[in-house]
């Protein structure tokens, strides 16, 4: 169990101290000249002082005796999704239980900090035992979410201080982009540009490699029939054919615009980038689910262009989401133009450009590709899936 890195003390309001101190002085001065009232005066003065001293001492010693036993939180989550955070505290003292312990955690992402609660209460924590506080956290902004330090505050009624044990443990959670559920007609983006439904090559070329088997469809070459697999089936008329794929060829190139605006309006532009990232993520997932190989290209920083080849594998999609989680408006127009030209010149792949501009630029209109502006995104998006 981890000890607290420090104790923060918050003293009672000065006005309260002044008023109580003044009252104590007044009653002492009023009762001092009367020896017959000595016992009464002592009782009247000592009781509140003892109460406050006891509550203050217990608040401080209890806060010092608190230990952090465990923290439960995921290593990654998704924007718009929620996760449960649990903080387990132990009481390392021997005598008194900790009463009314309030715990909270600090959250920060980018320039936004949330350190004001909510305070979860542990009503009573016996010495030598542990107890857990739980929160539900929803993160809406992708990137890195820092959780910590954690705080545990003790303030018994009447105490002159609020003692807060600070546990400096900080954890980082990677927040992946939100998941959009796209409309089924998103296939229309590939219409006329790519044979999106399936492969029609009759024979594998020398460069192609075996990628799997599927059921026979009319039009498939009988030379591709997978004999062993077909013989295993119970139905004598059911056949399987082998599928081949050119590892150097992609089905689809998806280019994301990350260039900042020329005319200010960075808030709107940033908002559009968030939408575009979520949309691109969903688009890649959708096409990958249809067994298409997607080539994702974007500019991550100056002279740093990311190219990811996404096959229908979970590992590739994870890599894409990790990349998208940290993407920012750091591109430039010239590099973007070069990327688009290069992708269009690549043989055989359809190109989809997800732009942040409200209108398609003139130079982009000349290129044989689909340009999606921010206005197109809601059309193809049905809803956000929370998890």
């Amino acid at each position: 169990m981890t000890r607290s890195s420090g104790i923060e003390l918050r003293i009672a309001p000065p006005i309260g101290i002044v008023v109580l101190g003044g009252s104590l002085v007044a009653v002492t001065m009023a009762g001092a000249p009367h020896p017959a009232l000595r016992a009464l005066v002592v009782f009247v003065v000592v009781f509140p002082l003892l109460w406050i001293a006891l509550a203050t001492t217990l608040s401080y010693t209890t806060a010092r005796a608190l230990r952090m036993a465990a923290i439960e939180l995921p290593s990654r989550t998704r924007a718009m999704g929620s996760f449960q955070l649990a903080l387990t505290l132990g009481h390392g003292g021997h005598a008194f239980p900790a009463i009314g312990v309030l715990t909270n955690a600090r959250f920060s992402t980018a320039d936004i900090v949330l350190d004001s609660g909510p305070w979860a209460e542990i009503p009573i924590l016996m010495a030598g035992r542990v107890a857990t506080s739980r929160w539900d956290v929803m993160v809406k902004q992708r990137g890195m979410l820092r959780v910590g330090p954690f705080r545990a505050a003790v303030e018994l009624p009447g105490s002159a201080i609020r003692a807060t044990a600070v546990f400096d443990a900080a954890h980082v959670i990677r927040v992946l982009p939100a998941v959009y559920q796209l409309q089924p007609f998103v296939d229309a983006l590939l219409a006329g540009r790519h044979l999106a439904v399936g492969r029609f090559q009759t024979l594998p070329a020398a460069i192609e490699e075996y990628v799997g088997a599927r059921e026979y469809r009319p039009g498939d070459s009988p030379k591709l029939i997978h004999r062993v697999l077909s013989l295993r089936t119970r139905d004598p008329y059911q056949f399987y054919v082998r599928e081949f794929q050119d590892p150097s060829r992609d089905d689809l190139s998806l280019v994301l615009d990350t260039a900042p605006p020329l005319d200010g309006g960075s808030a709107l532009h940033r908002y559009r980038l968030e939408k575009a990232i979520c949309f691109v993520c969903a688009l890649c997932r959708t096409f990958a689910a249809r067994r298409l190989t997607v080539r994702f290209v974007c500019q991550r920083a100056a002279r740093d262009v990311v190219t990811l080849r996404l096959r229908p594998l979970d590992a590739d999609l994870d890599r894409l989401e990790m990349e998208l989680a940290n993407l920012d408006l750091t591109g430039d127009r010239a590099t973007l133009g070069r990327i688009l030209l290069r992708e269009v010149r690549r043989h055989g792949a359809a190109v989809i450009f997800v732009s942040l501009r409200p209108r398609e630029q003139v130079e982009q209109q000349r290129l044989p590709m689909v340009t999606l502006t921010p206005d197109h995104v809601p059309v193809f998006t049905r809803e956000v899936v929370s998890q």
């Binding site: 309001p13 008023v19 009653v27 009781f47 309030l102 809406k140 902004q141 206005d375 809601p378």
Partner: protein, 283 residues
């Protein structure tokens, strides 16, 4: 294609700027809102009301020397203590709204406070007269007039101590008490929001001031009944401790169950609720 898109969701072109301008709704998480919720919890807490009543009655017993103060000779002070003991707790912010019969009840409590201990020791029509006077003033002074009655009672307590200029002293002390009361209420109301436990200390201070008055002016009377005095003050102190516990509980109940990040942040599409980067609430 653009035309087709416009037909599918024409309103979206106008939604986006509105979404960006939407401000965060955080009203229910402010200190002010928490204080309001806390006050409503305290208003519904019968145990707090009982503790407050016990504190006031015990303080009355202690201030009157556990019945040793003579209602015939010191009728004005007995009347003032009784009026303060009944009216002061009911002026506290967490006291529930009084109903139609409450004024009668308060008048009866005020009368009983004077009559019962005095009848126990010496039966006298004058005592019943003082009790009736206290009941009548409590009945007449309803609503905001209770504040004036409290000021008058505090003024009377000090006015009787200066026989040469009783009216001047009463008026001066009354004005000073009213000013101090307004100042104290405003300070406590300001400190109450972040630190509700300041009320506990204020209650201790009020009891100590009452004791100081009694020790200063009625020491010979109080000296006759020290054990009773200690018992009455102990009960009052225990009542304050119960009040502190109840206020702490109300503080916990009224704490926010969730917190939103401030300021608003940019979030993905289709989140039309509010633009907070982080939302955290108790599980």
């Amino acid at each position: 294609m653009i035309g087709w898109l416009r037909r599918v969701d024409p309103a979206f072109y106008h939604k986006e700027p509105q979404l960006l301008r939407t401000q965060a709704q955080i009203a229910r998480y402010t200190d002010e809102a928490q204080a309001e919720v806390r006050l409503s919890v305290l208003t519904a807490d019968w145990m707090l009301h009982a503790a407050t009543t016990i504190v006031a009655l015990s303080a009355y017993v202690a201030a009157t020397g556990a019945g040793a103060l003579d209602p015939r000779g010191d009728w004005l002070r007995v009347w003032a203590f009784a009026v303060i003991a009944v009216a002061a707790p009911r002026a506290l912010p967490w006291w529930p709204r009084v109903d139609r019969d409450a004024t009668w009840r308060h008048a009866l409590i005020g009368s009983a406070l004077i009559a019962i201990p005095a009848l126990w020791t010496r039966t006298d029509p004058a005592v019943l007269g003082v009790a009736s006077l206290a009941g009548a003033t409590l009945y007449v002074a309803r609503g905001r007039a209770r504040v004036a009655l409290l000021v008058l009672a505090v003024g009377a307590l000090f006015g009787v101590r200066i026989p040469a200029h009783p009216l001047f002293a009463a008026a001066l002390v009354g004005v000073l008490a009213a000013g101090a009361g307004v100042l104290g209420v405003s300070v406590i109301a300001r400190v109450w929001r972040p630190r509700p436990q300041v009320v506990t200390w204020a209650a201790f201070a009020t009891l100590l001031v009452a004791c100081a008055y009694t020790f200063a002016f009625d020491a010979p009377t109080v000296a006759l009944r020290v054990p009773f005095e200690i018992a009455a003050i102990a009960v009052a102190y225990l009542g304050v401790c119960i009040m502190a516990g109840r206020i702490r509980q109300a503080e916990l109940i009224a704490r926010p169950a969730g917190v939103l990040s401030i300021p608003q942040s940019i979030v993905p599409l289709l989140d039309r609720s509010h633009h907070h980067a982080i939302i955290c609430w108790l599980a």
